[in-house]
Subunit: 433 residues, 2 copies
């Protein structure tokens, strides 16, 4: 059979990785796919050769349209980044009857509904395994591997930069800002790290995973997002003392009231595998009603792991070229006419346990007042640490049982009014998973 022809938009880190893999493992890939997959066209302003590849047999252009509308090309790999041009080119490719493979989580997270609708109308596929957790085939696992399950919840370390920072903070007892600088020097964090450390990138990915898990439209704007910038070495140390690790998790959960979607620093029991996923690695824990917990771990970024996901998508697309569109795996795991309008809960309605830390003047009875407020708000206490006072100051650390977020907020407000409490109460959510 003739090789399938691919046009690639962008030859940066991931684009280069993709071409490298298609060239280097060409034989292995053809042995699997039953035919070759070759990049014939590429549009690139600059070519990054982080990994080795040849452009000898690739028609290079600076005009996106040249690639996207070329009648010879079967599949477009979109690696432009951003959402404006990427959206435009993806829609144009679809309009031209091309299948699209993309690594762009922001694009899928924010414009996925529109893109999938267009693709469905045109009978083409849009594949996006590389958009979540790099080399881990978590899209395939959730969408196909766990197809027998009603997925109850998932929790993922889906941003390598923030996981690297949290790991270093714990290993070295360092301050957030110092580790961020180190991560930037090592190339693990961007010069503008906001997307990673504020949880925006994780929220895009969580949006996608939640839709695949629960059969709901993509709703990025309803994700609650909290970054890792306010975590202190003190919190990291208390977590350790209490038998937990702080991880920046994306959590999606089906409850009777609706769907929770939230990204925030989370206390995780240190014995859980997820708590032991360190450095830049990613992992997603999925709980299905039939299978129970499954965990999937691997590299979350980088030229080759992300390229591995793109090429796997290309193989899938090649296999389904002749399948009638109705029998292909649906973009969002569920048939588009069966998507559900279950409401997404606001963070106030989320139920979870909490870690609370507060500074107290060493006055007798402050702990009693605090526990009194908690009890008035029906919040029961799982553990308490009261540290020896220093300079007349002491710290109280509490872990609560599960409670509604808005109730904790009321309690925290009341605690902060107490005469014996200095400053504000530090709060982190805790999940036993």
């Amino acid at each position: 059979m003739k090789p399938v022809k691919v046009g690639i938009l962008g030859l940066g880190t991931v684009g280069g990785g993709t071409v490298h893999i298609l060239q280097r493992n060409a034989e292995e890939i053809a042995r699997r796919a039953g035919r070759g997959i070759v990049v014939t066209h590429a549009c690139a302003k600059e070519i990054k050769k982080q990994v080795e590849f040849s452009t000898d047999d690739i028609v290079l252009t600076q005009q996106l349209n040249d690639v996207v509308t070329d009648p010879e090309i079967d599949v477009i790999v979109e690696l432009l980044g951003g959402t404006t041009l990427a959206r435009e080119m993806t829609l144009l490719a679809i309009e031209n009857g091309k299948h699209v493979v993309t690594a762009n989580k922001a694009l899928i997270g924010t414009h996925g509904n529109e893109i999938f609708k267009a693709a469905q109308e045109k009978g083409v596929m849009v594949a996006f395994e590389a958009a979540v957790a790099g080399g881990i085939p978590i899209i395939k696992v959730t969408r196909e591997g766990l197809a027998a399950n009603k997925i109850n919840w998932l929790a993922g370390i889906i941003n390598g930069t923030s996981n690297f920072i949290l790991t270093e903070m714990r290993d070295k007892g360092s301050e957030f800002n110092d580790v961020l600088k180190e991560a930037q020097d090592l190339g693990y964090a961007e010069a503008n790290p906001e997307f990673d450390i504020e949880g925006i990138d994780a929220a895009h990915k969580l949006t996608i995973l939640a839709s695949l898990s629960f059969g709901i439209p993509l709703q990025y704007d309803k994700v609650y997002v909290e970054g890792i910038t306010k975590i202190t070495p003190k919190d990291v140390q208390y977590a350790d003392e209490l038998g937990y690790r702080i991880k920046h998790l994306g959590i999606a959960k089906r409850t009777e009231k609706g769907i929770e979607m939230r990204v925030h620093p989370t206390f995780v029991p240190h014995k859980r595998l997820l708590a032991n996923v360190d450095g830049v690695m990613n992992a997603v824990l999925v709980n299905g009603d039939m299978v129970g917990n499954t965990l999937h771990y691997g590299a979350g970024a980088g030229a080759l792991p992300t390229g591995s996901a793109i090429v796997a998508d290309l193989v899938d697309v090649v296999r389904a070229l002749t399948t009638d569109p109705g029998n292909r795996v649906p973009h969002l795991a569920f048939q588009p006419n069966t998507l559900s309008d279950i409401p997404i809960l606001s963070i106030d309605e989320v139920e979870t346990a909490y870690y609370l830390r507060m500074n107290v003047l060493d006055k007798l009875g402050v702990l009693a007042q605090v526990t009194n407020i908690l009890s008035q708000n029906n919040i029961s206490i799982e553990a308490v640490l009261q540290k020896e006072p220093r300079d007349e100051h002491a710290e109280i650390v509490l872990l609560t049982h599960t409670v509604l977020e808005k109730q904790v907020n009321v309690a925290i407000q009341a605690i902060e009014q107490l005469g014996g409490i200095e400053g504000s109460v530090t709060r982190m959510r805790l999940e036993t998973l």
Copy 2:
């Protein structure tokens, strides 16, 4: 669209789980697959209701042929166990143009080549996700998710019974036989536990994973197999002291000389996620040349996890019903005409590191003699423990660097000849993964 009709052979634990899932999650499954999947016929000598399901709409029979040859049925789920009748019925189903889904690792491991050939000739699918690691979609991950990779090696905890026993031995310091009895009482081990504790079950599964990873025919008879029955609490404790855990691993590795396939107790560094997979849980670590390490963890057995895998296979089969056979995912991941005849290495040719334990009479100079023998055989030492003598006896524990198995055997033989050594040398392989 009309629902797809399934005939099931066996309504024991897994059969019941499968029917339970298809009934309980019928809506979810149809929302994903685009049509219903219903069990219309079942052959069962006895019906185990470990989980709830209804047989009201199922035609029950005691004749396998009634189900396998019924023209109404699209897919046969084979859950007979064993390899004789299972092979016969699978081939008969194929001959009758039916697709087959099976959980039978012994069947696929030993007769898979014949079965896949017959299926290919007839243009039907044989799906076997449930045959390896229960609810973990490891077949899908290896065969599709990592399709861009040349897989270098994999290492898996793929037998829950033996992992449960090793976990208990470590947690409680117990003897193998005591824990085996406990596992039998809990229903985690069979009355005849040989398949699990001697590694035969794991070897069947490893055979399958190796073929999917390297594109080689199934070669169960070439797997080196060693069980866990000889592990003592002493070894478990030394492993701990040295920073390792003993895990019963199935390992498949591509080397320049050929393919290694081996099942044996293995020292694994305690920081590795795989070392922390405890109890009856399974996990498979796969190393691809592009993606690096990925790990997949979950329940390895049980009515619902295994049923989850069978139903996922049914969804896949339903989607590919109208696909032309040449574009389906090949049974062994690679197109059948591209399978490779790379040789499988004998255990003598395997290179790995070793843990060695020996009893010495407390004679000065025995350690020197031992290290001398190792050095003569080009075996370098990574770590040594010499325990305080008790009753004039002492123990020497050594970890070696990587070396050829046959060289270690020569050294062990020489050590056992030494006057100061009592009994035989205990040896376990060590992998840093």
